[in-house]
């Protein structure tokens, strides 16, 4: 049996989703993949809890009752706790900050320095310092996986890395933000204003309390940067993206576009020349990108040998995102086994 020990930082929606997933599917992974996933540390913004084989159920209970895992552990910060914990993979799930990448960036660099692999769903560190992280990881010979950073459960990085080894991807474009796509779909089908569609998305738990990162296009821009770095080999950061959001969009514009045979989608696009953009576009109704509705995401890859490839899937949601994180953990476990 291979064993992979996790240190998880961040117990927001995705972190808690990962705890639920561990609780429910851990035994199945052991049987099916011969991998035992253990939790040896958890941390949130107020403290950390280190142990030999923490029970995810208990972590959820402590977090819910006390608001922090410090209640069961102590008030050490995550960086300090990482030095003391015994783990193989850092799972970095703190909130995205696109200005500094912090606190995720420091967590990731610390794990690399300690010679540990990293799985993250946090876009910030990769959007501001992709190159720096990858160079550091190469020097320490550790693996960095980040499937959940673009498109949630929709497999794109791993698809290209594992399944499209023989081809060069020339360009990437698509719908990369489920909240925005949901809002646009509602504006189109119900004739709602942006504000009303957004309020509806918030009441359903689709949009965050402050949806500006989504609506203004910055979330999509982060994903484009990570895709461009990872898949196109274009070295870039968030500052290189030309970003226009949907904040000015009206239901009338959507209707006019519709009457002329188009849907309006917030498109993120990157190509090998390093052109990176996010902007609302008119997409012909017959284009598969236009047919992706609601919270779904889609990416179109143009390749040199394999033509056009589409990937579509649910772009958000705690369990969907946690599933992508878990797939990365399991793939690291298979490559770099700690056998006991």
């Amino acid at each position: 049996m291979r064993v992979v020990r996790l240190f998880v930082i961040g117990l927001g929606a995705v972190g808690r989703g990962l705890m639920r997933l561990l609780r429910e599917k851990r035994d199945q992974y052991a049987r099916r993949l011969n991998v035992r996933v253990e939790l040896t540390g958890v941390a949130d913004s107020r403290g950390a809890w280190i142990g030999e084989d923490l029970d995810p159920e208990e972590v959820l209970r402590v977090k819910e009752r006390h608001g922090t895992v410090a209640a069961a552990g102590d008030e050490r910060d995550a960086l300090e706790a990482m030095e003391d914990a015994d783990f193989d993979v850092l799972v970095e799930l703190t909130p995205t900050d696109i200005e500094t990448g912090e606190p995720g960036l420091s967590h990731i660099l610390k794990a690399i320095e300690l010679g540990r692999h990293v799985v993250t769903a946090n876009k910030g560190p990769l959007a501001v310092a992709y190159d720096r992280i990858m160079r550091a990881a190469e020097r320490r010979d550790v693996i960095i996986r980040y499937e959940a950073t673009a498109g949630g459960a929709m497999p794109v990085f791993n698809l290209v890395r594992e399944t499209l080894k023989s081809v060069d991807v020339l360009s990437i474009e698509g719908v990369l933000n489920g909240t925005v796509n949901y809002v646009l779909t509602r504006m189109e089908t119900e004739g709602l204003s942006l504000d009303d569609a957004l309020a509806d998305a918030q009441s359903r738990g689709i949009a965050e309390a402050d949806p500006s990162m989504d609506i203004e296009g910055w979330d999509t821009a982060c994903k484009i940067v990570i895709l461009a770095n990872s898949i196109l080999g274009v070295r870039c950061t968030i500052d290189d993206v030309d970003v226009t959001g949907i904040e000015d969009l009206t239901p009338e514009a959507i209707r006019i576009a519709n009457e002329r045979g188009y849907r309006i989608k917030l498109i993120g696009r990157a190509d090998r020349d390093g052109d990176l953009l996010v902007r609302p576009c008119l997409v012909p109704k017959s284009d598969p990108i236009a047919r992706v509705r609601g919270v779904m995401n889609v990416v179109r890859l143009e390749t040199d040998l394999a033509g056009t490839i589409y990937v579509s899937g649910r772009g958000a949601g705690p369990l969907e995102t946690a599933s992508a994180v878990m797939s990365d953990i399991l793939s690291i476990a298979e490559r770099s086994p700690t056998t006991r």
Binding site: S171, E173, T244, D248, L249, T250, E252, A253, R255, I256, A257, E259, R260, G261, Y262, I264, K265, I267, R269, D271, D273, G274, D275, L277, R279, P280, C281, L282, V283, P284, D287, I289
Partner: protein
């Protein structure tokens, strides 16, 4: 079916437009777009239509025989169209100037304008079709529209295909 265009001058009176449209349907042609602008007591009409070659010639003959109608131009129409959507204070920022400046691009014509103004205080939305002769005209039209949008603080939406070409051009 091929595409043709016709520019005519008519008296600006009720019932004039139908006089030039009736013969088109009689010869079996289809209207693609029509724009009508008033110039004093006359009106100028730009019509783009599809028809086969013989029907188009027959149509232009019939229009030329109409009283008080002057054909300014008749010929094979432009081959390509691009839809554009604008959002913002389109009317306050002089929609006519916007259209004139796009029309001033060689080989480019704006037709088929839709304008929706839900409330004078709020942003309005407009759609229009840009007919262009070739790739060079398209690129210049896109550049001019972007420039106007920037200057008048309008949001402009282009078809994805155009955005894709524009982005590979700039590199």
């Amino acid at each position: 079916m091929k595409r043709f265009e016709l520019d005519v001058i008519l008296p600006d009176k009720p019932g004039q437009l139908v006089r030039i449209l009736e013969p088109l349907s009689e010869v079996g042609g289809n209207v693609i777009s029509i724009s009508h602008s008033r110039e004093g007591d006359r009106a100028r009409v730009h019509l783009v239509f599809e028809a086969d070659e013989r029907a188009a010639r027959e149509y232009s003959r019939r229009v030329s025989e109409l009283e008080d109608v002057k054909i300014l131009r008749f010929g094979r129409g432009p081959g390509h169209e691009m839809e554009v959507v604008l959002i913002g204070h389109i009317v306050d920022t002089d929609i006519k100037d916007t259209i004139d400046r796009v029309n001033a691009v060689r080989g480019v014509q704006v037709v088929d304008v839709d304008l929706e103004m839900p409330d004078p205080e709020r942003r309005s939305s407009a759609g229009f079709t840009v007919i262009y002769e070739d790739e060079g005209a398209l690129r210049e039209a896109v550049r001019v529209i972007e420039e106007i949008a920037e200057e008048k603080d309008l949001t402009v939406l282009f078809p994805l295909e155009v955005v894709r070409c524009a982005s590979s051009d700039s590199s």
